[in-house]
Amino acid sequence: MPRVVVDVMPKSEILDPQGKAVLGALPRLGFSGVTDVRQGKRFELELAGELTDETLEQVRRMAETLLSNPVIEDFVVHVPGAEPAQVSGP
């Protein structure tokens, strides 16, 4: 059963308050040297049947329709083990 991964990240120009909170917490825990943190989401989709260009295109449509909000987020679709990433977001 093929697994496809969709990584969703806030666009670089969009403020990421959660990432900022993590960035603020790290030095308090004694971890130094981190200059920025961005927090995103990872979706692991288990697909039925063979992995084809068509199913990957369908995952890309899922990503832009539901999994991400293109106004504030970018996404990348990739297949674990397959290098380089087979399909990328816009």
Binding site: P17, Q18, N69, V71
Partner: protein, 222 residues
């Protein structure tokens, strides 16, 4: 007018909104997220709350609920639609309004009596207000930061689509102090503060929110 108020799983302010509708001399009709039925209403309110638990993104799941198919179609035909707080988030996720709402820049939930300026009184939801009037309406949100790209913000300001702006303090990091917007046609309005909580002296900071609910009656008579 018959005003539908949608209840989603996780809606909090649907009953308050229905009550405010009645206080505005309109008839409130309860609508259910799971039905493809607007029950013949003349306008729709998407109330505040945490629909579908805010899972994925605020409003992202609600936007695909059966009733929203009907709301989106009716809005495109010109039906007045008001989204309050979570309702505003749903309207942005539906692409009926531009931009998006993200977590407050200071990362804390905010609950305060918020000063606002009403900047567009040409919509069916704001016609009862005087242009540029300053009001106090309750604000309560965790993800109320309005964002859009500069081009969109310029267009919203240039076309008079900024409906309301925060005064005194910017409570959530919204770009250009935007508290509410309308679409180009003016029938769809999204607002982060809660006018339905500002309709009675007994329970809030005055009655400045009542205009959002009396405007429809004014529009119906016009």
């Amino acid at each position: 007018m018959k005003v539908g108020v949608v209840t989603f799983p996780g809606s909090l302010d649907d009953v308050d909104a229905q009550r405010a509708v009645r206080m505005g001399s309109n008839e409130a009709v309860a609508l259910w997220h799971g039905e493809h039925d607007l029950k013949g209403v003349d306008a729709v309110i998407l109330p505040g709350g945490f629909s579908y638990g805010d899972y994925l993104r605020c409003g992202a799941i609600s936007r695909f609920s059966p009733v929203m198919t009907e709301v989106i179609e009716a809005a495109r035909k010109g039906m007045p639609v008001l989204g309050i707080c979570n309702g505003f988030q749903i309207l942005c996720e539906s692409h009926l309004l531009p931009g998006a709402l993200i977590r407050n820049d200071h990362r804390k939930f905010v609950c305060r009596d918020q000063r606002l300026r009403i900047e567009n009184t040409r919509t069916p939801w704001t016609s009862a207000y005087d242009d540029g009037v300053e009001v106090t309406i309750v604000l309560k949100n965790g993800e109320g930061g309005f964002v859009a790209d500069d081009e969109t913000l310029d267009r919203l300001e240039g076309e008079g689509q900024v409906l309301a702006r925060y005064l005194d303090v910017n409570p959530n990091g919204s770009l250009r102090d935007i508290a509410g917007i309308t679409n180009a046609r003016g029938n769809v309005v999204g607002l982060m503060p809660h006018p339905e909580h500002a309709v009675e002296d007994l329970t809030g900071a005055g009655t400045d929110g009542l205009g959002f609910f009396t405007s429809l009656a004014v529009a119906a008579l016009a």
